[in-house]
């Protein structure tokens, strides 16, 4: 899946509309692999639709204060007057009205829509931050391990095996409260930004190994190629070898791994919040909402559907886009 090892341009035909008389004007222009991939991506309908959906989600996450101002309801406001005596929202489908688009939470009576918008922002922030961190750590260590080999390679390989053998959920589960206890007392409330920071750190700690393994494999395949040997023979230093010669050839798989890592972290965060570590009830989060909704499956089934379907759409869009990106970046694909 490596791109052309020669830095520079690949030749490609200009797309001609297909008219007979224009065929004679066919001309060859140089296009970089990146331009080719972008053109392929533009032609892919799935990629465009899922991409648009992703842009929409990101915009919503960025515009949270604006949406809240326009919507006029905060994530912690409770609307007890709209619940019946048992704490169930009045009206149909969990209390969906013009003011409360997705209805109200049974029990506390908080607005589901605005909590989901806030949850989306937290979720995307954690996922992107963790994905960037894992990519940086994974690429650095993977490149070093692949290029230098030797003891560094063995150590990194062994650590990878070790992290694979550690049950991620349980370790994260055990680490979260322990770390919180180290900085805050038994009774003190742990602030949300601290929980978010710890979550990102845990994801980075466990996630870099797969990127490192991927990059290492690619680098090993490139290491013995002639152009690398030529650069080494002309006296290139380590930095030049890594950043100018090797890395430009593996950015495609790294990009794909990145785009597929983001949905993975979204679901991991939701899962951790679901089992009750990760974010607490104070911070709106998809996982927490779904966990709370389990108690109301019989009485208010619509509660589970709003966060459930949103997280499904989000992850599906990321997965589809990641796949399309992989196809677009693959020089062998003719689509």
């Amino acid at each position: 899946m490596s791109l052309s090892p020669v830095e520079g341009v690949a030749l490609a035909e200009i797309e001609s509309p297909g008219e007979g008389d224009e065929r004679r004007d066919k001309e060859f222009v140089g296009r970089s692999p990146g331009q080719l991939a972008l053109a392929r991506l533009r032609r892919d309908r799935t990629a465009m639709i899922s991409g648009a959906l992703l842009v929409f989600f990101v915009l919503v996450a960025l515009a949270v204060p604006l949406i809240q101002a326009l919507y006029g309801v905060g994530p912690k406001e409770q609307f007890q007057s709209r619940l019946d005596g048992y704490g169930m929202p009045l009206g149909y489908a969990g209390g969906v009205t013009g003011e409360h688009w997705f209805g109200l939470e049974p029990g506390l009576g908080r607005d589901i829509f605005i909590r989901m918008v806030h949850g989306l922002r937290t979720s995307l922030f954690i996922a992107f931050a963790a994905a960037v961190l894992t990519a940086v750590i994974g690429v650095t260590l993977g490149t070093l391990a692949g290029y230098l080999g030797g003891w560094l390679d063995s150590v990194i390989n062994w650590i990878t095996d070790l992290t694979l053998a550690m049950p991620f959920l349980i370790i994260a589960l055990a680490l979260m409260p322990t770390v919180a206890l180290r900085f805050y007392g038994q009774r003190e409330a742990v602030p949300a930004y601290f929980q978010i920071g710890v979550l990102i750190a845990i994801f980075a700690l466990f996630g870099w190994t797969s990127t490192a393994r991927l990059v290492r494999g690619q680098i090993i395949a490139l290491r013995e190629r002639e152009f690398v040997e030529a650069a080494r023979a002309s006296g290139a230093g380590l930095g030049h070898m890594l950043f100018r010669q090797l890395l430009p050839n593996v950015w495609a798989p790294i990009l794909v791994a990145f785009s597929l890592a983001v949905p993975q972290y979204i679901t991991s965060e939701a899962a951790l919040s679901f089992i009750g570590v990760g974010l607490t009830d104070e911070t709106p989060s998809f996982g927490r909402m779904i966990y709370r909704s389990l108690d109301y499956l019989q009485t208010d089934p619509s509660y589970v559907f709003f966060p459930g379907i949103t997280i499904f759409a989000l992850v599906l869009a990321f997965n589809l886009f990641g796949d399309a990106l992989r196809d677009a970046l693959d020089p062998k694909s003719s689509r």
Binding site: A165, M166, L169, I171, A174, P177, L181, L294, V315, N319
Partner: protein, 328 residues
């Protein structure tokens, strides 16, 4: 073969050793005081001090670790407050549930096994079967349906699927009882009706991943020369696809399956939470909540043993499936 097995088991043991040391350090050395979490109610300083003495927390870490390991291999004598003699796979004493940790594990491990083993059989058969079929009928409606199925399944979350299954089959259609665990040997019918939703939810999500993976592998294998050669020399389609191509295509699937099944056996936290079943995963979560260190330690260790063993089994399976693999 023997040499390979010995080497493989040695490296597995080394990994397990590292996991045990790491988790021991993480759980016993990191918190400010591991004891405060262990007696939540009526804790006076004397009792706390006694617990500390009994747990040997005043000893250096190395001898604490050695004592723990010795307990697993040969059993050891714990204080009278911890139930006295603790037999061979001794995992310590839980002050929270007031029983030996090995007894807790013996109670909850069958639950997780009953969830995971049937689900794994289902998801492997369904996933690999669907993947192979859609690869052989590339471009047909079956192929497109399988691709749609695997894309949906790969993006769905277990807690959501589980919730929908519960709403439909338990609360609305009332076809199934609320999920619960009964021993298979007591009442097989109740065992399966209480767990079938968990199997279906797990199998649906996992088979999506397997269908996708095995389809890609099979397509790649089908384009290889040896498949064409086999067809050209007149072998039947059935034997070429079923024996030659399948064997080559299934190796990476086996790797992933080993990791997944091994990981799931250590506890399916989300499944157990969604369906309210009390297996290894739930036990681990509850132990973390109540700060029950010996139980946390035991669940992490057992989960790691399953993963490492699954990896050894996978390596051995390679040799059976793929004759090109030479062990040694």
């Amino acid at each position: 073969m023997t040499r390979f097995l010995v080497r493989r088991l040695l490296s597995a043991a080394l990994t397990l050793f590292a996991v045990s040391v790491l988790s021991f350090l993480m759980f016993f050395a990191l918190p400010r005081d591991p004891v405060t979490g262990m007696c939540p109610k009526n804790c006076n300083p004397e009792r706390l001090e006694r617990v500390r003495q009994e747990l040997g927390l005043r000893d250096p870490l190395i001898s604490q670790y050695a004592g723990y390991m010795k307990g697993i291999v040969t059993g050891r004598d714990l204080g009278s407050a911890q139930g006295g003699r603790c037999d061979a796979p001794c995992l310590g004493w839980s002050y929270v549930s007031n029983e030996a940790v090995s007894d807790t594990i013996a109670r909850v491990l069958p639950v997780t096994l009953s969830i995971v083993i049937p689900a794994a059989v289902l998801w492997l058969l369904l996933g690999v079967g669907l993947g192979m079929l859609s690869a052989l009928r590339r471009g047909s409606w079956l192929d497109r349906a399988a691709i749609g199925f695997s894309l949906t399944g790969a993006s769905l979350q277990l807690y959501f699927v589980g919730a929908v299954l519960l709403i439909v089959f338990v609360y609305n259609l009332r076809l199934l009882p609320v999920p619960s665990y009964t021993s298979l040997f007591d009442n097989p019918l109740k065992w399966s009706s209480g767990l079938v939703l968990a199997w279906v939810a797990l199998a649906f999500l996992f088979s999506a991943i397997y269908a996708r993976l095995s389809r890609a592998q099979m397509l790649e294998t089908l384009s290889e020369d040896f498949v064409r050669t086999a067809r050209a020399k007149g072998l039947a389609k059935r034997s070429v696809y079923g024996r030659h191509a399948l064997r080559a295509a299934i190796t990476p699937v086996v790797t992933i399956a080993g990791l997944d099944v091994g990981g799931a056996l250590g506890g399916t936290v989300i499944t157990e939470t969604t369906f309210g079943l009390n297996g290894m995963g739930r036990t681990a979560v509850d132990a973390v909540r109540s700060g029950d260190l010996p139980t946390i330690m035991a669940t992490v260790l057992i989960a790691a043993v399953f993963v490492v063993l699954a990896n050894v089994v996978v390596d051995l399976l390679y040799a059976v499936i793929d004759p090109r693999v030479r062990l040694g």
